[in-house]
C-alpha cells in the first residue's frame, strides 16, 4: 500500500505533467489537472492515515531506481548546461560545470552507486509537507486552469503555451513530494535540482525580456545552492570516508564525536537551503519571480520551492543542535526576518509585499531552526503549515484582483470592497490570518518569540520585524474598505440576527454577486476556510502532527514543551489560550457586526472637509480655489527616506554576506 501511495505522490504528477504537455485540448487538460489534484490529495491523506513509514524501491520497470535517478540527474544538469550556453551566461555555465564535474568524479571515482536504505524515510514532518504540497499545491494548479486562459487572452497569443506551463507546474508537485520523502542525500539533490529547473522554466514562461532576465537570475542563484549541495555530498564522503552519512537520518543522528567532521557539510547544506528559501542576499530571485503568472508565484511561495529550502534546514536542525552553527543560523534567519519586513514596508506593489513577507517568514522559520529547542522546531513547523495556506490564498487573491482591475498596486485597491466584495473579503481574511491572534501564524510567531527569548539579539530582530509586519498588513487591509458607503449597502428592514448570519456568509454587502468561475472560487474559498479552521485546530494539529516530529528527533531527551490543556496549549514559560481567545474573538466579531447592522436611525455622511466637501458623498472632492471642485486623495507612507529598497538593499546584502562568511569561517576553522 505504502509503495503505491509513494509512487502516486511522486510519479503521478510527472505522468500527468507529460499528458498535459502532449494533449492540446484545454478541456482534457483541465480534467487531468483536477483529477491529479484530487488523487494527490487522497493519497496524501491516506499516507497520513497510514502514519510514519520507510520504503526502499528496488526497481522501476526492471531498472534500478538508483540508476534511473543518477541518469536523470546528469541528464538534467546537461539540459541546464545547454540552456546556459543558449542564454550565453558564463556564470550559469560555470555553476553547472561546478556541479557536473565534481558529481561525475564522485559517481565514477569516489563512491559509485551509493545505495541508501531506507531510500524513503517518511516521518511526520514529511507527511505534513506532503499534505501541504498535495492540497495547497493542487488547489493552486486548479486555480491556474482558468487563470491561464484569461492570462493568454490578455496576451493575445496565437498558439497556446499552456501545455508547457502545466507540464512544469504539475511536475513541480511530484518533485517536491520526492524531495520531502527522500532519505538519500543524492536523491534529495536530484529533486532539489528538478525544482530549480522547473522554477526557472516557469518564471521565464512569458518570454518577455524581463521574464528571461529574472528567470536567469533565479537559475544562477539556485545553482549556487546546488553547488553547495554537491560540495556537501563530497565533503561528507571526504571527511568521513564512508557512505553511511548519505542517509539523512544517519547524518542527523550522528554520534557526538562526528560533529566536528560534519559541521562543514551541515553549513553547506544550510547554505543551499538559504538560497532556495531566497534568504538575503539571495532575496532578489524571489522578488524577480513576480513576473511569472500568478499561479507560479503562489506555488513558489506557499507550498513548494522556498518551502524546500526551509524544510531542509528544519530537517537538519537536530544534527547541529548546540553548536555555534546553530546560533549563526538563528542570527541569519532573524536578520532576514527584520530586513525583509522592512523592505516589505516600502513596497506599494502588492505582489512584492507578499514576496518580501514570504522571505521574512522563511527567515523566521530558519531562525527557529537555529534556535533549535523543541519549542522552536515546533514553531518552525507550524509556521510552515500556516504560512503555506495563508500565503497561497493571498497570492491567488492578488492574481484575481489583478485580472479584474489591471493593477497589483495596493494604492489601486483602495475601496475595492465596494466593487469586488467577495474577493476583497477573502483577501482581508488572508491578511488578518497572517497578522492577528488568534490565527495560527501569530500563534506560531508567539512560540518563536518565547523560544528566541534566550538569545537577546535574535529576539530584538524578531521584535522589530514583527512591528514592521503589522504596519504593512494593517494598512493593506484598511485600504480595501476605504471608500464611500454605497446606496446598495443601505440597510433593509431585517432583524439583527438575520443580518448577522447573512454578514457571516456574504459580508457587509449582501447584494453583490461574485461572478468568477468555479475554478477560481473554489480554491479561494477552500483556502480561506482552511486558514481559519486550521487556526482553530491548532491544539490538535500540535498533538497529532507536530509533536511526534520533535519527539522522534530526540528520543529519550524529549520534554514536551507545550501541554494540551482544556484551554489549548500551555508551556512552561507561557500560555496561549487559543480556544478561549478564539471564542471571545467570535463573540466580539458577532457583537461588532450586530452593532453595525442594527436597524435604526443613522446618517451616512461625507468625510469632514472643513465644510467644503462636494454635495455627493460618494465623490471625494472639495471646493478649492476659484470655486473649482478638486479630488482629494491620501496615500500610504512607505518610509522611503529611511528604508528605501534601493537605499538599504546594498547594506543588507553586505551584512548578510558577512554573517555567511562568519558562518563558514567558524565552521572551516
Amino acid at each position: 500500500m505504502v509503495d503505491v501511495l509513494i509512487g502516486v505522490s511522486i510519479l503521478l504528477p510527472f505522468i500527468a505533467g507529460l499528458l498535459c504537455f502532449i494533449i492540446g485540448n484545454a478541456k482534457t487538460r483541465a480534467a487531468i489537472i483536477v483529477t491529479t489534484g484530487v488523487v494527490l490529495t487522497a493519497s496524501a491523506l491516506m499516507l497520513f492515515q497510514n502514519g510514519p513509514c520507510t520504503y526502499t524501491p528496488e526497481t522501476l520497470l526492471g531498472v534500478s531506481v538508483n540508476s534511473i535517478i543518477t541518469f536523470f540527474d546528469f541528464a538534467l544538469l546537461f539540459i541546464i548546461l545547454g540552456i546556459a550556453f543558449k542564454l550565453g551566461n558564463p556564470l550559469v555555465i560555470l555553476l553547472t560545470l561546478l556541479q557536473i564535474v565534481p558529481l561525475a568524479y564522485f559517481e565514477l571515482k569516489m563512491a559509485p552507486h551509493v545505495e541508501v536504505a531506507p531510500a524513503f524515510y517518511i516521518d511526520n514532518l514529511a507527511l505534513i509537507m506532503n499534505l501541504i504540497i498535495s492540497i495547497v499545491g493542487s488547489l493552486i494548479c486548479i486555480f491556474g486552469i482558468r487563470y491561464m486562459e484569461e492570462h493568454e487572452h490578455h496576451l493575445h497569443l496565437k498558439k497556446s503555451r499552456q501545455p508547457r506551463f502545466f507540464f512544469f507546474l504539475v511536475i513541480f508537485l511530484g518533485a517536491m513530494n520526492g524531495l520531502v520523502f527522500s532519505n538519500s542525500l543524492l536523491w534529495l539533490y536530484f529533486f532539489w535540482e528538478v525544482t530549480t529547473f522547473c522554477s526557472f522554466m516557469l518564471i521565464g514562461h512569458d518570454r518577455t525580456e524581463i521574464a528571461i532576465k529574472n528567470a536567469t537570475r533565479a537559475l544562477w542563484m539556485n545553482m549556487t545552492g546546488g553547488v553547495a549541495f554537491v560540495g556537501a555530498i563530497i565533503a561528507i564522503f571526504y571527511k568521513t570516508q564512508s557512505v553511511e552519512y548519505f542517509s539523512l537520518q544517519n547524518l542527523i543522528n550522528h554520534s557526538p564525536e562526528m560533529t566536528g567532521f560534519l559541521l562543514f557539510p551541515f553549513a553547506l547544506l544550510c547554505f543551499a537551503g538559504f538560497t532556495k528559501a531566497a534568504q538575503v542576499p539571495f532575496q532578489s530571485w524571489l522578488c524577480g519571480a513576480m513576473v511569472a503568472p500568478t499561479p507560479v508565484s503562489a506555488l513558489l511561495h506557499s507550498s513548494t520551492m522556498v518551502k524546500a529550502g526551509v524544510y531542509l534546514v528544519v530537517r537538519l536542525a537536530p544534527g547541529f543542535q548546540g553548536t555555534y552553527l546553530s546560533t549563526i543560523v538563528a542570527t541569519f534567519g532573524a536578520f532576514t526576518f527584520v530586513t525583509a519586513s522592512a523592505l516589505a514596508v516600502n513596497m506599494s506593489n502588492g505582489k512584492k509585499i507578499l514576496a518580501y513577507s514570504t522571505i521574512a517568514n522563511l527567515g523566521l522559520i530558519i531562525a527557529c531552526a537555529g534556535i533549535n529547542t523543541p519549542a522552536a522546531i515546533i514553531a518552525a513547523i507550524l509556521l510552515i503549515i500556516f504560512h503555506a495556506v495563508s500565503k497561497g490564498l493571498l497570492f491567488l487573491c492578488v492574481g484575481t484582483i489583478e485580472h479584474a482591475i489591471g493593477s497589483r498596486d495596493i494604492e489601486d485597491m483602495r475601496g475595492l470592497y465596494n466593487t469586488m466584495p467577495a474577493v476583497s473579503r477573502i483577501t482581508i481574511i488572508g491578511i488578518l490570518t497572517m497578522m492577528l491572534p488568534p490565527f495560527g501564524m501569530l500563534m506560531s510567531k508567539w512560540m518563536a518569540m518565547e523560544a528566541a527569548a534566550n538569545i537577546p539579539w535574535v529576539v530584538v530582530m524578531v521584535a522589530l520585524g514583527s512591528g514592521l509586519t503589522v504596519l504593512f498588513w494593517a494598512r493593506w487591509a484598511g485600504l480595501f474598505v476605504s471608500g464611500p458607503q454605497l446606496k446598495e449597502q443601505e440597510l433593509k428592514k431585517e432583524s439583527a440576527i438575520k443580518a448577522t448570519i447573512l454578514t457571516m456568509i456574504r459580508g457587509f454587502y449582501p447584494n453583490a454577486k461574485w461572478n468568477d468561475p468555479a475554478s477560481i472560487k473554489i480554491p479561494l474559498v477552500l483556502l480561506a476556510m482552511g486558514a481559519i479552521v486550521l487556526s482553530m485546530a491548532v491544539p490538535w494539529i500540535y498533538t497529532i502532527l507536530v509533536e511526534p516530529v520533535v519527539a522522534s528527533y530526540r528520543p529519550g531527551l524529549f520534554v514536551e514543551p507545550f501541554k494540551m490543556g482544556p484551554f489549548g496549549l500551555s508551556s512552561g514559560v507561557g500560555a496561549f489560550y487559543v480556544l478561549p481567545v478564539f471564542l471571545l474573538s467570535i463573540v466580539a466579531y458577532l457583537f461588532a457586526v450586530i452593532a453595525s447592522k442594527k436597524n435604526g436611525h443613522r446618517v451616512v455622511s461625507a468625510p469632514y472637509m472643513c465644510g467644503e466637501q462636494y454635495p455627493d458623498p460618494s465623490q471625494p472632492k472639495f471646493r478649492s480655489h476659484l470655486n473649482t471642485w478638486r479630488d482629494y486623495l491620501a496615500g500610504n507612507v512607505y518610509l522611503q527616506e529611511f528604508i528605501g529598497e534601493s537605499k538599504i538593499s546594498y547594506w543588507i546584502n553586505i551584512l548578510s554576506l558577512i554573517i555567511l562568511i562568519v558562518m563558514f569561517g567558524e565552521v572551516v576553522r
Partner: protein
Amino acid sequence: MNTFDVIAVIAAVFLSPLVGGLVAGIDRKVTARLQGRYGPPILQPFYDVFKLFGKEKMVCNYWQIFCAYMYLAANILTVVLLALQSDLLLIFFVLAVGGVFLVIGALAAESPYSQIGAQRELIQMLTYEPLIILVFVGIYLETGSFKISEIVANYHEPLLIALPLLFVVLGYAIVIKLRKSPFDISTSHHAHQELVKGVMTEYSGPYLGVIEISHWYETVFILGLCALFWHTNLIWMSVLIVVTYFGEILVDNITARLTWRWMLPHAWTGGLLMSFANYFWIYAKIK
C-alpha cells in the same frame, strides 16, 4: 477558573472603565492646573461620554462602526487577560488587534485627515511595539517566565530594581501608546497642537464614545503594566503608578509635538540601547 479569576474578570470588565475615566478626569485637571487654568470637574470625561452617546449616529462607512467595536473588544480582552495574569506576549498580541482595527476604521473613511492619522498611528504602533516586546523579554530574562501568575508567584523582589532601564523604555513606549505629547502624532487631545483630530476625525457621536471608553481600558492596561514593576507591595505599587502617570502628564504638558521622522529613529535607538544595557546587567548578575 476559580472564584478569584471570576472576580478578577468581572472587575476588569466593569471597574476598568470607571478607573480609566477617573484617571482621564484627573489627567485633565492636572493638565489644566499646569497650564494655569481651573479645569473641568474630575467626572467630566463621564459627562462627555454620556453626551456622546446621546448624539446622532453619523458615519462615513459601516466599517467604522465594526472597527470601533472591535477596538473596544480587543482592549477589554487585554485588560481581562492582564487580570487573569496570563502570558505577557499573548496580551501584547491582543493589544495589537485593537490598534489594527482602530487604523482600519480610520482608513475606511475616505477623509484625508483620518487617512493621514491612520498612517501616523501605524507608525506609532511600529515604534512602541518592539519596545514593549523588549521590556517583556527583559522581564522573562530576569524572572524566567512570560506568565504573570508565575512571575508574581516566584519572583519576590520589585522588578524595578532589576530592570530600571527597561522601566524607562516602558515609559517611553507608554507616551507613544497613550498618544501624549510629544508623541501625540496620530491624534492629539491638545487643541493647540491639532485642530482636526487625526485618526479619530471621522468618528463621532456614540462611536466616538465607544473609542473613548476603549481608551480608558487602554489606560488601565498601561497602568497595570507599570504595577507589574513593583508587585511585591501594594503601597509602593500605587506610588510607582502615580509617579509614572504624573510624569507622563508632565511630559505631555511641557513638550511640543514632534514628527514621526524624529520619533521612529530616536525611540528605536534609545530603546534598543537601554534594553541591551539592561540585558547585560541581568546576564552579569546571573554569571
